[in-house]
C-alpha cells in the first residue's frame, strides 16, 4: 500500500487523539513519526504506532503527561516526562535547550521518565532550523552486549549531531551505536535472509548470521563488532549515551531500561524512572558568524562529495543525504507501507474507532 503523506499524517494524529492525547500532542507525535517515514527510516515511523498503543493500554505510556523541569541552571535542565510519549517529551526538552541557547549560547537537557522518542534526527533538526548545532541521544531497551560479554546490557543507544549548512542540506549524523540497528534485523527476519557476521552473537558469544538469534538470548554487537576492530569504542559510545541520558537525569540505565515491547514486563527493581534522553543546542554564532560557518560547511561538503572513490559509480555519501532524497521522493510519491504494517494499522484503527487507511 502506498499512502500519501497527508493521509498518513491525519491517520496517525487520529490514533494519538483516540489514545486521549491533546490536539497539540497528537499533532506533534504524528509529526515525529511521519518525518521518520518520509526520511525512509521505516523502522521508526508508523510501523511503531501499534507498539506505542500497546504500551498505553498497559498504562506504561501516559497520554496526558505533566512534563516539567525538575532541576535547572541557566544552561542546563533535567526534565521529568511524567511517563509521556517520548515523541512529545523530547521536543519539549529540545525547546528548553533552544531557549537557553538563545539566551546564553548553549542549552543542555537530560530527560527521565520518558518513552521511545522516534528518530534522534527529528530533535537535532529542531536546533538546525534555528541556526544551531543540535545534539540528541536516547537510551533504549537492552539488546546489545558490551565487548567480551554475552549479556544484553545496553540499547542500540543512538546519537545524533546536526549541523546547518548554506546551499546544501544540513549534515545530520544519526546513528545507532551498535554495528547494526535492530530495524535492519527486522527487515532480514521478514525477508528470511541471513545477516552478515559481526552484527549479532548467540547466547554463547559466537557470531551468528541468524537474524532471529535475538529471540533466543543472542545479542547485538557494539559498533566495531569485535575487540580487534574497535567494539570497545562502540561500547564506550553506547555507555556515553546511557550515562548522559539516564545516570544524569534519574532514568533507568543499562539492563534496567524498560523494554519497548509491551509483552515484556519492565524490571521489578527499577533504578530510575522510565527511559532517558539527552538533548542539546549550541548557537553557531556563539562561535563564529553564521554565514562564515555555513560557507565553510558547504566547502567541506563539496570536498567530500567530490572525493575520489574506489568504485566510480559510488560517491561518498554526506551524512543525512540519503534520508533527504527519500524525503523529497516520498513527499511527492507517497509512503510505501508493507502489508504487515498496513494490516496492523487498520486493525488498530478498528479497535480505536479511527477511519481506516485505504
Amino acid at each position: 500500500m502506498i499512502v500519501s503523506e497527508s493521509i498518513l499524517r491525519a491517520f496517525t494524529q487520529n490514533i494519538f487523539l483516540a489514545m486521549g492525547c491533546s490536539q497539540e500532542h497528537a499533532v506533534l507525535a504524528a509529526d515525529v513519526l511521519l518525518l521518520s517515514d518520509l526520511r525512509g527510516i521505516d523502522s521508526h515511523g508508523v510501523a511503531r504506532l501499534t507498539g506505542y498503543v500497546r504500551l498505553w493500554e498497559k498504562q506504561r505510556i501516559n497520554a496526558t503527561p505533566n512534563i516539567k523541569i525538575v532541576h535547572e541552571t541557566p544552561t542546563t535542565a533535567t526534565v521529568d516526562g511524567d511517563g509521556g510519549l517520548g515523541l512529545v517529551v523530547a521536543p519539549f526538552a529540545m525547546q528548553i535547550a533552544i531557549k537557553k541557547a538563545e539566551k546564553y549560547g548553549s542549552g543542555w537537557v537530560s530527560v527521565r521518565n520518558s518513552n521511545h522518542f522516534g528518530i534522534a534526527g527529528y530533535h537535532g533538526l529542531m536546533a538546525v532550523e534555528k541556526d544551531m548545532i543540535g545534539f540528541a541521544m536516547t537510551n533504549a531497551s537492552p539488546l546489545v552486549a558490551p565487548t567480551f560479554s554475552n549479556e544484553r546490557l545496553l540499547g542500540t543507544n543512538p546519537m545524533c549531531y546536526a549541523f546547518p549548512a548554506g546551499k546544501y542540506p544540513p549534515v545530520i549524523v544519526d546513528m545507532a551505536t551498535s554495528a547494526a540497528a535492530n530495524g535492519k534485523l527486522e527487515i532480514a527476519q521478514r525477508l528470511g535472509k541471513q545477516v552478515p557476521e559481526g552484527w549479532i552473537q548467540d547466547e554463547q558469544g559466537n557470531y551468528t548470521t541468524d537474524p532471529h538469534a535475538l529471540k533466543t538470548s543472542g545479542s547485538l554487537l557494539p559498533l566495531g563488532s569485535d575487540r580487534e576492530h574497535g567494539s570497545h569504542k562502540g561500547f564506550g559510545l553506547s555507555a556515553t549515551v546511557d550515562i548522559l541520558s539516564a545516570v544524569l537525569s534519574g532514568a533507568n540505565y543499562g539492563p534496567w531500561v524498560p523494554p519497548f515491547v509491551a509483552f515484556l514486563d519492565p524490571p521489578n527493581d527499577p533504578v530510575g524512572k522510565g527511559i532517558g534522553h539527552f538533548l542539546g543546542a549550541m548557537r553557531v554564532d556563539g562561535f563564529r558568524p553564521v554565514d562564515e560557518f555555513k560557507s565553510h560547511l558547504d566547502n567541506w561538503i563539496e570536498r567530500f562529495k567530490s572525493a575520489s572513490t574506489i568504485n566510480p559509480d559510488q560517491k561518498v555519501i554526506i551524512p543525512g543525504e540519503p534520508e533527504l532524497e527519500a524525503h523529497a521522493d516520498r513527499l511527492k510519491n507517497g509512503i510505501p507501507l508493507v502489508d504487515a504494517v498496513a494490516n496492523d494499522l487498520n486493525d488498530l484503527a478498528k479497535k480505536l474507532g479511527v477511519e481506516a487507511l485505504k
Copy 2:
C-alpha cells in the same frame, strides 16, 4: 630503558624550556605528555617530543603564543591558539569552558590555530576534577578515508567523554574514530607484524594487512571498517569532530589539516588556521545532586563489571580502567621507553643542550 616519572617529567620540561616556552607552559606541556606515558598510551607521550621540536624548528609551532578568545557568549567561545603547542592551548581553552560552566552550568570552546593536543583524556579529566562532565575532541592530519573513498580526508579524530564516579575511578571514553589508531600501526611496523583486515586499505581500496600501506597512499578505515559493519558511522563521528573542531572555529578541516610530521609541508591553500579542537564542560549538579549521580554511576560500573562474559577469565572492561591500572603501575615502577624512543630523546637532548636520560 625504564625511567622514573619524576626524571622523565623534568627532562620533558627542560626540552620545552629549551624551545623557549615559559616555565608555566613547559610544566603544563610536560604534564600532558607524562599523563599519556603514565596511562600506557606510549604513542602520545614523550615519543612525540621530537615531533613537536621538529615542527618548532620549522616555525610551525610558536613557543611563546598569545592565546586569546576571539568570539564569545556567556557559555561559548572561540579561542585562537596563535600557533602554540596544543598541549598548552587546549588546557587554556578547557579552563575557559570550566569557568563558564561554574557560572552558567556549561561551557563550550572551539579552538583554531593550534597543534596536536596530546591525549584527549587529559582535557576531559580537567573537568572531572571539578565534578563536571568533560568533552574533548580534535581533528588531525588526514590519514582516514571516508566510506567508499580511497582518499585520505580525515584524521583519526579522537573524541573523549569523561564522567566523575564515586568510589570508582572516573569513566573515561577516549577513542580514535578510526577502526585502529595510528599508534597501533606504528607498533606493528616496529615489530614487523601484519595487522588485522579492516584497519587499512591500499591505494585501490582493497583491504591490506601490511602496516606500511599508509606510506604508499593507503588509508586507515573509519570505525566499523566497511559499510556493512557501519563504517559510515565511524565516518559520521569523524566528520562531527572535524566540524566542531575546525569548521566551527576557523581552523583547517578535512584534507587541509596540516600534517603533524615536519617532513610533509602543510597544504598551500589553507581554509583556516592550524588544527582545531573542541572542548566542553557541564556541571553534574546542573542536572542532579553530585552524590546522587556518583552513586548511580558506581552502580552502573558495578553492574557492567559483574556482567556475564563469554570467557570467564576476561571481564568487561570499564572505559578508562586499563589506563588507570597502567598509571598506578608506572608511577610506582617507572615508565618503560623502547630503545628507539630513548635514543631519539637523547639525540634531542644533545642538540638542545639538555641533560640526557640515563
